[in-house]
Amino acid sequence: MIEVRGLTKRYGDVLAVDDLTFGVRAGEVTGFLGPNGAGKSTTLRMVLGLDAASSGTATVRGRPYSAQPAPLKAVGALLDPGAVLPSRTAFHHLLALAAGNGIPRGRVSQVLAEVGLEKVARRRAGTFSLGMRQRLGIAAALLGDPPVLVFDEPLNGLDPEGIVWIRSLMRGMAAEGRVVLMSSHLMSEMELTADHLIVVGRGKLIADTTMKDFIEAHSEREVLVRTPQAETLRPLLAGAAGVRAEGNDTLVVTGLEAAAIGALAAAVEVELHELSPRQVSLERAFMDLTRDAVEYQAEKETNR
């Protein structure tokens, strides 16, 4: 479990992280979401003891990171996939990290195989592609077989294959009962991965909710109704819901479930050709939520 209490980071007059409080539970993927500059990385760096908090605390399983008896066995972290000495081999990069925590040499080969890098283990890391470095970073996070995993923007710059791989890896880790915290600035990445959402903007907590609740609260659901008798149906629906026409034979209904619309149509013997619920994109909902918190907002919004 990760517990963050009143965590604050101040650089001069700027509050990068402003009194953040949240907890991260085991057994699910928690998305740490916020626009660029929202303080996500700074928060993760404080959780990992890399940066000192101006005030507040961050603990993992009840202890600050620096007090973990063997940190890599408590928390696996991927912060910066490029962080490898180019002339060092993948194997030695991991071996040095493992050695620092007394993790046996055999475990290095094991994690390299687990991420699919066993064939290039003895190659210098400087020759690795971004995707391979990301795998190496993941391998480092898995070294200590930790119950807590922290990934900072793990999907950044990856090709679709890599994204699918990391996503299923994170889901698998959560399914085993681990704590998985993953940051991103893209809602679209979260939608398919996270069970729980912690949304921050300008260093402040904006939302701490399950993905399901977030979707329900922030996406207006619409029902698309296609019927040759749109003119007949429309006034009947307008009493109970919002209705707008989209072309001659299509109505978009908000505030009424598809089943209710179907029942209403059946009652008045209106023929339906399509009756389909659809969702407003979560990206849109996320942008609305963080609109005020985006650090550098475009002068003029081009849409809406």
Partner: protein, 293 residues
Amino acid sequence: MSHPRTHPEPAPVPAKPPSRTRRGRSASDSAGSGRATFWHSLHAEWVKIRTMRSTLWVILGALAFAVGLAALNGSSAGDEYADLSPADQAAFDPLETSLMGYLVAQIAFGLLGGLVMTSEYGARTIVPTLTSVPQRARVLGSKALVLVAVALPVGIVVSLGGFLVGQASLSGAGAPHLALSDGVALRGVFGGGVYLALAALFGLALGAVIRSTTATVTTLFGAMLIVQAFAPALPGALGDWVSKFWPPIAGGQIITAVRDPDVLGPWAGLGVMAGCVAALLAVAFVVFRKRDA
């Protein structure tokens, strides 16, 4: 491991449920057990320094320079010896003549020490390093110990190489020369090695504070060569003081066999250098602990 794959780019691996059962028992016993200690950190730093490419180049470079300079210096000084005035002949120092290569070797050793820190910042590996070992004093302490374990023996070899080649070429030119069995020679060779190890620690401390390889090298050049070269040109008392107490100059007295009353003795001089390095390391510890990574 069993399925052969020749393509260097790894194919995506499905997130297979990891092979071993683990939930239900505490995580700390699944990847080796126990608490991480200073010993582990020492091991980690040893792996790092021996897999850092520059380590080998710096050592070979220092060795080549020390030996090459000793050969050249020995033969040219030897040739000129006969033409010196009696006073200059009395002040002729065969030990120093053979060990002058330390002037360049100290930069190489300082660079090695600096790189032990700055390579971590350059490649940003300081982040994985500190997530593996969050105790900063432990990290810097292990770096310093491992560095000394490499730099001291190599430093002695570099000094010894310079000494043997230098004395051989002095002897070939018919000038006074020393044997390794002379007390002063042993002091110069071992002390020279100690000096080079101190130079490496000097670089380590600078690297920890400065964090940039380029700036660390520049500072090393300034502190170890430029000041040395310009000390005599400084006005009066200041020039005398710098020539006597500036740590790299004072420490360099360890390779002299002929006493100059205006400068510190060999061991006192090396002591000044050691004190300066200790003070810089103390600053490095404080800074490294306090600053965000």
